[in-house]
């Protein structure tokens, strides 16, 4: 009996491994788990000072209501995937501000004409310095900033539809 149990032990280990792997893959598919994700250092901290052509920190604070700030670029393929999701957020009246990251202004404008413009305000981070200040590692990345200018939520990569739906209901309620 004891030996039987010992024989089962590797099988049990393999089963645990298999289940964890499945959970990991499912999380990656749903966008709830990102193996390359880096936790944002901005969470629950006030927005760092920035002044870009388009808008600055004071403009965000003057707004005095929660907004989403989305870093994007015309050269970024995942941003094309994300475009319809952002447009849906706009239709749900979610205040969405965009920061074009290291992009030529004409290319950004053409991108917004082609994909549709979901942004209430648009700023240009030509040198990518504000991106580094906010700790982004690529585009797209999205920050939820509350009325007091504190970052409450962050997502790296294109917003999964489930996350966008959850945001839309939070903003409308």
């Amino acid at each position: 009996m004891n030996r039987r149990l010992l024989l089962l032990a590797p099988l049990g280990l393999a089963a645990i491994g298999g289940v964890s792997f499945y959970a990991m893959l499912r999380g990656m598919k749903r966008g709830t788990f990102d193996p390359r994700g880096i936790p944002s250092q901005m969470l629950d901290k006030p927005l760092p000072d920035f002044d870009l052509p388009g808008f600055n920190r004071a403009d965000v604070l003057k707004n005095a209501r929660p907004i989403l700030i989305n870093f994007f670029a015309s050269w970024c393929a995942p941003c094309i995937d994300e475009a319809p999701i952002l447009l849906k957020l706009r239709q749900a009246h979610v205040p969405l501000w965009g920061i074009a990251y290291k992009d030529k202004h004409e290319a950004t404008d053409a991108f917004l004409v082609r994909q549709g413009n979901p942004f209430a305000h648009l700023a240009h981070d030509d040198a990518g310095t504000v991106g580094i200040e906010w700790g982004i590692t690529g585009v797209p990345e999205t920050f939820l900033v509350d009325a007091a200018g504190i970052v409450r939520w962050h997502f790296a990569g294109p917003l999964p539809p489930e996350a966008a739906d959850a945001l839309a209901t939070r903003f409308t309620s």
Binding site: R36, I38, P39, Q41, K102, G128, T129, I132, E133, W134, G135, T137, G138
Partner: protein
């Protein structure tokens, strides 16, 4: 043939990520410091390369920031803190010892301890020699091995 190949190898430049000499600081000593320091910083895009080795855009930007700050007289710990404030400990290729990374740092010691314990236990009670075969088993074996 081999000599020609060897010569060609000698002629080829080593593959540094800094392909643009304009990136380097004019002072070779300062540049060496920047390279040494940059090797301890993780490229957040490639994630297993240092910013000195990576060809990613973000790595280039970070190399530039490191050099600008070094040239402005900031020390390595100051620049390290600046980067950690933005990207977290993940930006450091060598994770610092904190409560969260204690298991990671202690894992070699734990492995040694567990292995040593197993060894000691095996020495103390060596497995008993197998029981002699019973009469029935012996008969069965004889039947099986008879030619």
């Amino acid at each position: 043939m081999i000599r020609i190949l060897a010569l060609l190898l000698l002629l080829s430049a080593p593959a540094f990520a800094i392909s643009d000499p304009a990136e380097a600081l004019p002072d070779p000593k300062m540049e060496a410091r920047a390279v040494e320091f940059g090797k301890t910083l993780r490229c957040l895009v490639c994630q297993n390369e240092s910013i000195e080795d990576s060809g990613a855009d973000l790595a280039r930007d970070l190399r530039k920031i490191v050099r600008t700050k070094l040239a402005a007289g900031e020390s390595e710990p100051q620049i390290r803190d600046w980067l950690v404030a933005r990207y977290g400990d993940f930006v450091l290729l060598k994770p610092p010892m904190t409560l969260g990374t204690l298991a990671l740092w202690a894992s070699p010691v734990i492995c040694l301890l567990v292995g040593g314990l197993v060894l000691v236990m095996m020495r103390r009670n060596p497995s008993a020699p197998p029981k002699p075969l019973s009469e029935a088993e012996r008969k069965r074996l004889e039947g099986l091995t008879r030619t």
